[in-house]
Amino acid sequence: MMAITLFGAAVIVFVVIRIVPGNPIAMMLPPGATDEDIARLTAHYGLDKSIPEQFVVWLTGVLQGDFGTSISLRQPVMPLVLGRLPATLELSIFALVLAVIIGGAMALTGTRFRGGRTEAVIDVANGAGLSIPDFLWALVLILTLGVLYPVFHISGRISPSLDLPFTTQFYAFESILRLRFDLWWDLLKHMFMPALALAIPLAAIIGQLLKQSLKETMHLDYVVLARTKGYGENHVILFEALRNAVLPTLTLIGVQFTFLIGGTVIIERLFSYEGLGNMAIDAVINRDLPLIQGIVLVFALLFTVVNLVVDLTYALLNPRLRHA
């Protein structure tokens, strides 16, 4: 199933990026290169063959672990992509955590004080979160917490002046393992705004949907019965309603998280964050076909993994599916 999805994604991207106008070879040669130079280099990268032929060559390479060579960076694609992937993963997962915390808090607070002014305020906040896209939130954040009150860094992944002891690209994760909280703090100050921009729309969706399903759950017989046992509203919401109310939200979080990962492309660009998305934009500008192809494949793989994780979590939380 996963293989079919990935294959489909590979085919579509492969064809599309070769149909759209723009010649990668012409872009890499200095002005004044002759047509012959261009033709020779085009043949060198195999771009003179028909699209199906190119695809067969590419796929044969991929199956042997060779994803080709980046035209603009002149390095093998896979090491390039894998070098950037951890930065994007850390950003996306941090954004997801923020979204779950913010959205969850709004849903729980809204349910606890349902029908009152607090809920109305939360509804308005959710509406704003939903109707403004992530890149506009990014601009708002840059202007406020970046420029007006410069609390956070607006550019890059880590301050260039720092010595990096890292052996992996998972900087934030590794800095915790190494107990280098000074580095972790610096990473956080860089990651916070892009992550928050990505998180806000998802937080709003979680807030709205989870509140809705919590409120419905609060009327169910077993929740009412728990009240007669002597429990207060906080306990009833957290320990009786929440777990059942989370289930419908969970599937949606999975789908929305893949959108969030897609959003990293623009957000990383806006914050000059050295991740996969930022690299993707460079690759597209340079018409770097092998690199685009590699990045897309990794994104597609990420999406399928997210969906798999969601399905597993759902089964874990729902006792009716656990033994099946």
Partner: protein, 291 residues
């Protein structure tokens, strides 16, 4: 001696209106006594139980009256205190066992939670008590059931679990809200017998809500007849079956199938009687609105 549960002049309205769902209801349940609460669908039987237990729907509010549980004025207390008091002294056997258990929690904790959290028992004591209770409600292999999820049990089993849970904290009052209506006919009798058995063993007072006068005669010592949220008649069961005083009660009794003809279904109550009692209530309502 004052009654264990004393409801006085209780009126409940739809929030923000003067539409009464309960009309100056007064009702008493003495310690150890089983009281029937009878009426047609929509009469407000469940509403009385909910008002006592503090679980009225958000759209309903209490307009006047008092509810005293064990000499404490429930409506005058802060919500958290009221819930704890109710959790310690009263319990509900709900109508529908299929929806009254949390689908994502195991049976064991659903029985023991209040013992541990509200009454401060140790986990071990609570677990032993749960096993003992399942034994009392005639469930074989209690340990297996305690570790099960609700969907792994039949409807009858789940109602047994809920009965066990209701009696877990040795409540002084149990409110049973049509505890057999949602069950299969063959299971209904067993569950009814079980509730009676548990009530006798624990000496619990009980408010037994039903629309079936046939059941009342078997289970209750006294009964209250309700129509449109108003108490129509209160009597000892023996006196009531010998001859109800109110016209509506008579019609209701006449509509109840005799035990000798178990397969006749419930008949509708005579229309003329309903018209008469409705007029009576409207007159009283007029007085309430202007008084």
């Amino acid at each position: 001696m004052t009654p264990f549960l004393q409801i006085e002049n209780l009126s409940a309205v739809i929030r923000g209106t003067s539409d009464r769902l309960l009309r100056s209801v007064s009702l008493e349940v003495n310690s150890g006594e089983v009281c029937g609460l009878v009426g047609e669908s929509g009469a407000g039987k469940s509403m009385i139980g909910k008002a006592v237990l503090g679980i009225l729907p958000a759209a309903v509010e209490i307009a006047e009256g008092q509810v005293q549980l064990d000499d404490e004025d429930l409506l005058a207390m802060p919500q958290a205190d009221r819930r704890r008091l109710i959790g310690a002294k009263a319990a509900l056997i709900p109508q529908d066992p299929l929806t009254a258990l949390n689908p994502s929690r195991r049976i064991g904790p659903q029985i023991t939670d209040r013992l541990i959290d509200i009454l401060g028992w140790t986990r071990r004591d609570a677990a032993n008590r749960a096993a003992e209770l399942l034994d009392e409600v005639h469930i074989d292999n209690p340990q297996r059931v305690l570790a099960s999820y609700p969907h792994e049990l039949s409807g009858g089993m789940r109602q047994r679990v809920l009965i066990a849970s209701a009696f877990a904290a040795n409540p002084k009052l149990v409110i049973a809200d049509e505890p057999t209506t949602a069950l299969d006919v063959t299971v209904q009798k067993q569950i009814l017998r079980l509730i009676r058995e548990m009530q006798e063993r624990h000496g619990t007072a009980m408010l037994f809500v039903t629309h079936d006068l046939g059941v009342v005669s078997k289970v209750c010592q006294r009964l209250t007849v309700l129509f449109a949220g108003k108490v129509i008649e209160q009597a000892d069961v023996a006196d009531f079956y010998a001859g109800p005083r109110h016209g509506y009660s008579k019609a209701l009794l006449a509509a109840t199938p005799k035990f000798t003809e178990p397969f006749t279904s419930l008949m509708p109550v005579d229309r003329a009687v309903i018209t008469a009692v409705t007029a009576e209530i409207e007159a009283a309502d007029g007085a309430w609105h202007h008084g």
